[in-house]
Symmetry: C2
DNA sequence: CGACCTGTTGATTCTGCTCAATCAACGTGG
DNA sequence: CCACGTTGATTGAGCAGAATCAACAGGTCG
């Protein structure tokens, strides 16, 4: 495959990233383990094999913003500067493969594509934080999770309320209340504390739009 | 210059982008002119030569989120998919150069670098929207503008209150009140409606932190 | 069993939005 | 030149949504 006269992204399976890179084993990070810290030298790319990873940043006053949750197939570790200004942690026990480019070669289009996917996701999140109410943010979050997890089985929340709150720019109490709102509206059902069944997908989607 | 065993960004002047690309003239877009619309086919990259460009997205309920303001040297038009899901407009009369990659070639590391810069900026904005109050957002916005414009002459606001509001996820009334707050605190002074003198840079910075 | 952690719920406070009035700057046409 | 309309900015009053503070429930683990 070659890129024809455009910077548009091309669909490349993540495995193609491995071309021209040193193979690496999958590392298992237990829950809350740090994958890289803020200030660490940037360089390698990471690919999630299983589990969930969160990318975080903290402000001077101690507040945390989670800029992304990553699951199987997602890449992370991109950095514009020489060192990470975010940090990455395992949420629930995650398997991560490290990719180091072999010396003296240009990054491939596949890397660019994954960076652009990150950008698109971050912009989507920006819309949520800029324009939407708490209930709508939660609805959109669940909808997104549901789409990522694919099938129509209950959505599994690998992260806890606290994480969701820091991802969506609100408090965990508000997360709780928003879930309750969706429950009262008969849009979702909490099978367990971490497994949510979507009863009315249409209503959920129309909330997000 | 070559990239050694890393995906870390390298510092490449934007002009290097031109290597391997068709030269193109600068197009002048008058204020509020559309550079590309939502749904347009993605492909070419754009570089701002002078003036200011805004990247926007609208929600179903008509709210607008500005995901970025771009000034001289900034590139935009990256897209993960086949078509733009944002649209770009000139803010104040902007000169824009279009870059089309020549056929059958991989994007260079410079393109990746610019995409990563976009990503970093978007993540920074995410911090603002997720963690900061209205006053702090405005302070950070002014501080950012001031750094981008370089010298210590008054900061020029190319965009109007409405745009700032949609960029920072608030209403234009709140923008007005936040500016008034900074004025009352003797941190800034409004030389004109669009030119702001920073009286106390330390206070401004410590507000953002 | 008690300690602890996570999550839920309630009461209160406060930030920022909505609605609305006012003002200044500007352009147009009589 | 002035009356008028328009547009952007500022300011005020009242309100709504989310944060904060606090109490409590349920589960897990020592």
């Amino acid at each position: 495959m070659h890129i024809q006269s455009t910077f548009r992204a091309q669909t490349v399976p993540a495995s193609n990233l491995l071309a021209g890179m040193q193979p690496a084993a999958v590392t298992l990070y237990p829950a809350d383990a740090v994958i890289y810290a803020e200030g660490d030298a940037a360089g390698p790319l990471y690919v999630v094999e299983f589990g969930t990873v969160r990318i975080c940043r903290v402000t001077a006053d101690g507040r945390r913003q989670i800029t992304g949750f990553l699951t199987a197939g997602d890449a992370f570790g991109f950095e514009a500067g020489a060192e990470h200004d975010s940090y990455a942690e395992s949420v629930d026990g995650a398997g991560v493969r490290v990719l180091r480019a072999t010396g003296g070669q240009e990054p491939t289009g596949a890397v660019l594509h994954m960076a652009l996917k990150s950008l698109a996701r971050t912009q989507h999140q920006l819309m949520l934080l800029g324009c939407k109410s708490a209930n709508v943010r939660i609805a959109a979050f669940l909808f997104d999770l549901s789409e990522r997890q694919g099938d129509d089985r209950p959505v599994h929340l690998a992260m806890q309320r606290n994480d969701i709150a820091d991802y969506l720019g609100m408090t965990f109490e508000t997360v709780s209340r928003a879930l309750r709102f969706l429950k009262d509206e008969r849009i979702i059902r909490l099978k367990t504390i971490a497994d949510i069944e979507i009863l009315d997908r249409g209503a959920l989607e129309s909330l997000c739009e």
